[in-house]
């Protein structure tokens, strides 16, 4: 193991961090925008609303992201109609293809995570909002979503970290983010050990940083752990009184 090479390649690979982060956050935002309404549809008791969303999440969660990326990148590029349409301006660029694939894939997972959170919101919270006369949209926006979001925050944090890792697949469609740069570097130096370890260290740094951020966010939104135990005691009391 050549430590000097490891360190110098870390510096070289660091120039891929902005693209990795850009891919991550852009797909994160797009995925979230997509997932929130879909999650409400998925949680709906109306079959014609929930079933199409289920089909979408089932297919995107049941197939590898790599295949999805290749369908979007190579598959759509094959269709003449798409190549001659306005869409091609975006799909021509590997970055937008990745963004599309990661957003759609991430949204499928996020939808299911939020659906769980939405369905777990106690009916009492919703009834209390109905009782003051809030509209269904107000209830979703101000009551259900904030409560659901807090309860699914740990799962959502995992999903965000998965997304960071998923961006490494962008290297398969020629993008030079951290993984792409490291593969390029390996083909120039023939030192796979040092370079891939350097890449791994960078990713680990990013994921740990994000995990830390979400931990802080969780504490901030859900209160201190001490408050949590108190909350549990209250719910126990409620149960003990036999609802």
């Amino acid at each position: 193991m050549d430590i000097t090479l490891l360190l110098t390649s870390m510096v070289a690979l660091a120039s891929g961090i902005p693209l990795t982060l850009l891919l991550t956050f852009a797909s994160l935002v797009a995925g979230l925008v997509l997932a929130v309404p879909l999650a409400f549809m998925r949680a709906s008791s109306r079959k014609w609303l929930s079933l199409p969303v289920l089909a979408y999440t089932y297919v995107f969660r049941g197939t590898p992201l790599l295949v999805q990326l290749f369908i979007i990148y190579y598959g759509l590029g094959q269709i003449g109609a798409i190549r001659s349409s306005v869409l091609w301006v975006l799909l021509r660029d590997p970055f937008w293809c990745c963004l599309l694939a990661f957003s759609l894939n991430g949204a499928a997972y996020t939808t299911e995570i939020f659906r769980g959170g939405i369905q777990a919101v106690a009916t009492g919270m919703i009834e209390a909002a109905q009782a003051v006369g809030m509209s269904p949209l107000q209830i979703k926006r101000r009551i259900i979503f904030p409560i659901a979001f807090r309860s699914v925050l740990p799962s959502y944090a995992n999903e965000v970290i998965s997304l960071v890792k998923a961006t490494s697949l962008a290297s398969t469609v020629t993008l030079l983010e951290i993984t792409g740069l490291s593969r390029k570097l390996v083909s120039e130096t023939f030192a796979p050990c040092e370079i891939f370890i350097a890449a791994g260290v960078l990713y680990l740094g990013l994921t740990l940083l994000l995990a830390g951020f979400f931990h802080v966010l969780e504490v901030w939104l859900n209160g201190t752990p001490r408050a949590k135990t108190y909350k549990r005691r209250v719910t126990l009391q409620q149960v003990a009184h036999g609802q």
Binding site: V59, P64, G75, S168, T179, R183, P192
Partner: protein, 219 residues
């Protein structure tokens, strides 16, 4: 496309074999790691903690590339002669390492969610610690872990596709070869999707049956 049907069948076999071998090994590794993580021996617990944190924080693709390309170099240096790490072996090793890290966390969580009273009850019956583990903790833990395990297995099936990047002729690679040589990427990748979807659905069904079979009444 006819010739590719045969190739898809062999690719399917490779994918399934890869998933089953690395899944079985990974679960064994995960069990050991969970036991190590929960052990009173601090150093061991820390080490396992490092392992799971690092593996879960690094993209699978990097781990695969490292083991495939780096593994050859490292192992060869170790044995003082060339040892070939083929794509299948690299795939098994890397997916085992990854699967082990995730299942270790699942098993650990499951063990921790078993009420301590149960363990105390087993102790008070005079069971040996290992008997307690085998008879009380393990069966319950597996049951609790089942839903999360199902998810992890489905992830594993999908992750096998990454091994195609280092040249394993699995479903994904057959699709890539077909996509290139017949210039029909959409057809071939959609076919690959269908195969993967079938596999993950199958895994889902199996785990549903298992869950029903081992359901804990009242839980």
């Amino acid at each position: 496309m006819d010739g590719f049907a045969v190739q898809f069948v062999s690719g399917l076999k490779t994918t399934v074999l890869l998933a089953l071998v690395s899944g079985a090994l990974g679960m064994a590794l995960g069990l050991l790691a969970a036991a190590g993580r929960l052990s009173r021996w601090r150093v061991l617990s820390r080490l396992v903690g490092f392992y799971t944190t690092i593996i879960r924080g690094v993209p699978e693709l990097i781990i695969i590339l490292l083991i495939y390309f780096g593994g050859t170099v490292a192992i060869s240096a170790f044995f003082g002669r060339y040892v070939e790490v083929n794509a299948f072996l690299a795939g098994v090793v890397s997916l085992t390492v990854v699967f082990g890290a995730y299942t270790a966390e699942i098993f650990r969580g499951a063990v921790l969610s078993i009420p301590t009273g149960q363990i105390e009850a087993a102790r008070s019956l005079g069971l040996h610690p290992w008997q307690t583990w085998l008879l009380v903790i393990l069966p319950q833990m597996l049951r609790i872990a089942l839903p999360a395990l199902a998810n992890q297995w489905i992830s594993l099936v999908k992750e096998t596709s990454l091994i195609s990047i280092v040249g394993l002729t699995d479903i994904m690679r057959v699709a890539a070869i077909g996509a290139g040589s017949l210039r029909a990427p959409l057809t071939f990748y959609l076919a690959a999707s269908a195969l993967y979807l079938t596999l993950t659905s199958l895994a889902l069904v199996i785990f549903h049956l298992l869950e029903r079979r081992f359901a804990v009444p009242g839980r």
